[in-house]
Symmetry: C2
Subunit: 383 residues, 2 copies
């Protein structure tokens, strides 16, 4: 059914399983990064990203740069904040700590608003925090890959625009873009950063960003120059505009093979209604979460409204650690991830259910994974 060599199903919260056509695009013959065919492919890719983010505002600006999701943080910290600025970081797991670290590197003062593990900061707390200081921007991790906690964007945006209208709303969508609904224009988001290897379904190696017209204006009105070179929008903005206008342009060499793979995955994603894609991910997630509950296991994200649709972070039974169960599951043919949240890493595993593993039912990845999990737990307990 697949041209790929036999391998265990990769069901971690990214990288995910890739479609054959996407992997085939990775082998595209070599092209000049300024040749007409490649410029066309890159330009179309940028335009398709607008559709994925549901933005029709021509002032919105997509960026695709060689790197990883992490480079998106650098782009935000170095382009949308200036040294000395205050920013508010909503904390739902490991990735908020790291994003705050990134801000501090660029001499931006990050204040974290934390929630207990498995929960997210509440709107009332956020409102209180926003009123305490003049925050240049607020960041929220849409799905925190370390905990599987989902944040709510629509109500958050309404709150931010009501209470602190000059504060830019920045979304870390590394583990959500492509599997969770994001209405960039309707929800008045200023910037979403993401990566290629999760629900977008393209191999790792690309930092993907969508910035609003307001964010670009804020960037252009900086009093100080951007504080990164490779991540500087001063360097990349004209390049991205040129590529989308199908004009060759050079700042740093892009990765043609990865761009081809992204073009293929976006073409596949946009060939069907996005609403359907999000529904399929929600249904798969419900199935996983019900099965996990039926096995007597708890999730880190304790409330249904906090639970991501692209992954599930599962507490192991008391006394069982990831190194005891993951090799058993690997032997059966499925790869899950261990815990990542420092305080409880040894107590839970993470199951990613994004992309072709959920949209292509013929693969049977999710059903097999749930079966293996059940069998594996039974075997390990017996030992």
């Amino acid at each position: 059914m697949s041209n790929q060599a036999p391998h265990p199903a990769l069901l971690i919260p990214g990288p995910i399983e890739f479609d054959d056509a996407v992997l085939q695009s990775m082998s595209h013959y070599s092209e000049s990064h300024v040749s007409a065919p490649f410029v066309n492919t890159f330009g179309e890719t940028l335009t398709m990203l607008r559709k994925l983010f549901q933005t029709s505002d021509p002032a919105s600006q997509p960026f695709v740069i060689s790197g990883s999701g992490t480079l998106g943080w650098d782009q935000v910290a170095a382009n949308l904040a200036e040294p000395g600025d205050d920013v508010l970081v909503l904390h739902t797991g490991y990735f908020a700590d790291s994003f705050a670290d990134c801000f501090e590197t660029y001499r931006v003062k990050a204040t974290q608003l934390k929630a207990p593990i498995g929960d997210r900061p509440q709107l009332a707390e956020i409102e209180k925090a926003l009123k305490e200081k003049d925050y240049k921007l607020i960041t929220v991790t849409h799905t925190d890959t370390s905990t599987g906690v989902l944040s709510e964007l629509k109500d958050l945006s309404e709150l931010v625009h009501r209470v602190s209208p000059d504060t830019l709303l920045i979304v870390d969508g590394v583990c959500s873009v492509g599997c969770e609904e994001i209405r960039f224009d309707d929800w008045k988001i200023d910037c979403v950063i993401t990566a290629s290897q999760k629900a977008i379904g393209c191999p790792a190696g690309l930092s993907i960003v969508m910035a609003s017209g307001r964010a670009i204006e804020r960037f252009q009105a900086r009093k100080t120059p951007p504080t990164s070179y490779f991540g500087s929008w001063k360097n990349w903005l004209p390049i991205m505009k040129n590529y989308e206008a199908k004009k060759p342009s050079y700042f740093a060499t892009p990765a043609p093979q990865l761009i081809h793979a992204l073009h293929t995955s976006l073409t596949q994603i946009l060939s069907r209604p996005l609403e359907e894609r999000f529904r399929i991910h929600r249904e798969a997630s419900q199935k996983v979460k019900k099965a996990v509950t039926d096995l007597g296991l708890k999730q880190l994200a304790s409330k249904p409204e906090n639970q991501a649709n692209g992954m599930t972070a599962i507490y192991l039974p008391e006394g069982l650690s990831p190194p005891e169960i993951l090799p058993t599951l690997l032997k059966k043919g499925v790869v899950f991830a261990g815990g990542l949240h420092k305080e409880i890493a040894g107590k839970y595993i993470r199951f990613g259910h994004m992309g072709v593993s959920v949209t292509d039912p013929a693969r049977g990845d999710i059903d097999r994974a749930l079966e293996y999990l059940k069998e594996g737990l039974a075997e390990v307990k017996k030992v």
Copy 2:
């Protein structure tokens, strides 16, 4: 002969033509970035880089990070210099201006020592400059991709170590690593930055760096924290050490498919003596340069000792511009690049001769390109 779809031979100074097996590795099925097989592949890749750079000093440290060659500049500026430091940038073309720009972004004071177009700064001038200020580091572009000018590393290193022994020697080897000899240990180089898509023969998307033990010590003795997050060695050093020790580790998600392709290309390169590889590149370069001279054309790099072995920058006949000749060559089946040096961009073209196009004579890429160039010039002149 090749599995790749028919396409014009890409003979620009990077990206270059890729071997079938390397492109095949780009389609590797998805793997976890912390799985044992991938950790093993990444670890072996780092160890192979030591051989490519001819370093056996265990204190030398390779880095492979998703990005482009440009990210190497950020790594140098953000890790090996501190805000306020003075650095000396030897200028042989476009890329020195950009490297200096990168330093300024990180608040490092860059002094450029320029040479006339097609030449390189002379040792006596460099000695004088080094004596004028306390430079924390000196940078040299081994091959400047905009001009095809080659810099000499061995004598430069001896000079720097004699005149200013505390100054780190940094080599921009983006267009030289894999086709020009670099004896990292013997020549006491402190840092070489490069990229995957040129003479290393792996698709674009990886920033590759080799740092000396002395550079790492300098980094570790910083008074201020690194000024980049994504490019911070504080974040990446433990990760690279762990991967090479075959231990899983996470800071930001690497690009498994690109690492597989790099593993394949390095395995191919190291399967034969490096000395032979450099000789083959020198011979191909001589052949190109002789043919260009026979056509009555001049090179930007005017002296034989200044001429790179991986590319040739060729002045067009008076009155002919790149847009007039490049489409003719493309139609015949070869892609050359236009000029890049701002002052004379409209007057020259660039011919890259690196990797499989020169090491695999069965391809006939170089001979065909020279033939097309001769025919193309004749046709265009007739018009």
